[in-house]
Point group: C2
Chain length 314, copies 2
DNA sequence: TACAACTATTGATGTCATCAATATCATTAA
DNA sequence: TTAATGATATTGATGACATCAATAGTTGTA
């Protein structure tokens, strides 16, 4: 018995479905005589008559009945393979658009982007540093594949996957670390506090940590707001100021004076970082790869902190 | 993208398994150049390079890794289809060997054999009337497909399926039925009792009903033993004798004088009838068909008897 | 550097799938 | 009862595909 072809499987299923040789042939975009010949050939190959031609519409024989489900299963799995192939091509040769918030980008992307490019050499990566609000908007428009941001976001239409929690550290230009003293939230001198501009959710998170409200009348330090963590750090250092720094910033040696860094305890305020995708997002393997690389990158600086309080970004 | 053939699927899996073009070709009984050409063709069709030829042994690319499982699934289902086809051919065109005990055969086979032949017109049926002991032996030798006998049998290596229980009736040539009197086991006049020869388990069952032992010294009636129920019935009638008849014998109108038939109560001794098959028996549909037809045949004479005592055949 | 083992390429050939044309069959209407 | 219609089966020609033999090219080892 020689090989059954997938075309023959397709023809059998079409005839079973339509109950007519001519209709099945049309459905398969071949001529009726081809269909007739190929089904007869299959029946001879396997030495089983699958269809009773005497009935109108054409029906399966008892033997055919006992085999048709497995014909269906086989073709179903062939369909799955074709889909997998399409998806693999898209994943390996298409584009992958990443949106990332500015308070993560400078510390994550230098490490993970090269890795991602190396392991997906035929994928074209596009990275956009934009705010959470803009990321969510572009995800919904399908103009981004994935957002890398502080979770959770309040949006039921998108799929979120939290990856890790990182605590905030006090960065204080006047408090030289002796490494003996433990800091709490109450040690934050609000008169010297610097924040990112309001569109950054980390700014909102810091306000929550410090029990601030938007209408609070603060000192003049808070009037000047910055758009990047690097500017924030420079401002703090130049003005004997103070801010809160996410621990991920410590990945980047050299931009922080480690003498000014102080962990907070009881509790340690923290933010959660994760990915957000559209429900119809299909490049699962690229997403998994990105998530794995993000986790690998932050692993060295993640601490097992027991008394953590996650501060939501919205 | 034109159709992927199952041969190509087979070649991919062989190369993945062996890590060598020449070994894979050997495994598939084709030349190395055919394998090389066909795998390259597939890779061009789907526009994905599946194998990294630089490694020794040859390994899948990352893309290949993400697809290989679905190639495996597809070929597995193709294998299943081939097996189903083989099994269907065997079931519909092969042989079905039935062993049945003589105390069942004359009452069951006339009804069910025609039915079985009608619904499996291409199957060659072989029916052997032999004792339980011989049926079990031939089942184990795979020279029988199924045994139809009194269950349970003491044999863990075979598969049993009990179908129904039938009670024994007294058949007494001297006790004309008035349909008023109820008989119990104690009404059995042992001096007139006739039995089948010892190799028939029904004989054993009757001895148990009557609390007989092999070494019991009975009257001269028991010295002459018969091999068929019909002979038994004739002996009883010709000699004013007595025996026990399974209810299934009442299916056959005309051989029994219904005046001599008496149900037994408190309790009604009964035997269980079922099928026995070898664990590797594969013609499941034929077996199910047989079992269904047996049950349909005995349904008219089966009684809902409440106080039943099953007498085991061994 | 030579050689062995392996994969890739190419042209010839056999096999298979398909089509167009036609034969055959079954059903329906006049 | 015959003719028409719709459907399936058959057949020969043709294009597509799978395969092989021969050879080119590559890689690793002694």
């Amino acid at each position: 018995m020689s090989s059954i072809s997938l075309s023959q499987v397709q023809y059998v299923l079409a005839l079973h479905r339509t109950g007519s040789f001519s209709e099945a042939a049309n459905a398969c975009h071949i001529t009726q005589s081809t269909l007739s010949t190929m089904i007869k050939k299959l029946e001879e190959q396997i030495d089983i008559t699958l269809f009773d031609r005497k009935t109108k519409p054409i029906k399966l024989t008892a033997e055919g009945e006992s085999l048709i489900d497995q014909f269906k299963v086989l073709y179903y799995e062939y369909d799955n393979l074709i889909e997998d192939i399409q998806e693999t091509r898209t994943e390996y040769y298409g584009t992958f658009k990443i949106g990332i918030i500015p308070t993560l980008a400078p510390f994550l992307m230098p490490f993970i982007l090269k890795n991602m490019v190396d392991s997906h050499q035929k994928v074209k990566f596009t990275v956009m540093e934009i705010t959470t609000e803009e990321i969510l908007k572009l995800l919904k428009l399908r103009e981004l594949d994935v957002g890398l941001l502080s979770t959770p976001v309040i949006d039921e239409t998108l799929i979120q996957n939290p990856l890790f929690a990182e605590d905030f550290l006090i960065y204080d230009a006047t408090a030289v670390s002796t490494k003996k003293r433990k800091y709490t939230v109450d040690d934050i001198d609000l008169s010297r506090l610097w924040l990112l501009e309001e569109s950054h959710c980390m700014s909102f998170q810091i306000e929550k940590i410090c029990h601030l409200k938007k209408s609070d009348n603060l000192d003049t330090n808070l009037i000047y707001k910055s758009g990047s963590i690097l500017s924030l750090i420079n401002l703090v250092e130049a003005n004997n100021g103070l801010t809160l720094i996410p621990r991920i910033a410590t990945l980047h040696k050299g931009i922080l004076n480690s003498d000014y860094l102080h962990p907070i305890v009881s509790p340690s305020p923290a933010r959660e970082v994760g990915t957000v995708t559209h429900p119809n997002f299909s490049k699962k393997q690229l997403l998994a790869s990105l998530e794995e690389k993000v986790l690998s990158s932050v692993m060295p600086i993640l601490r097992t902190v027991t008394d953590v309080k996650i501060i939501n970004p919205m």
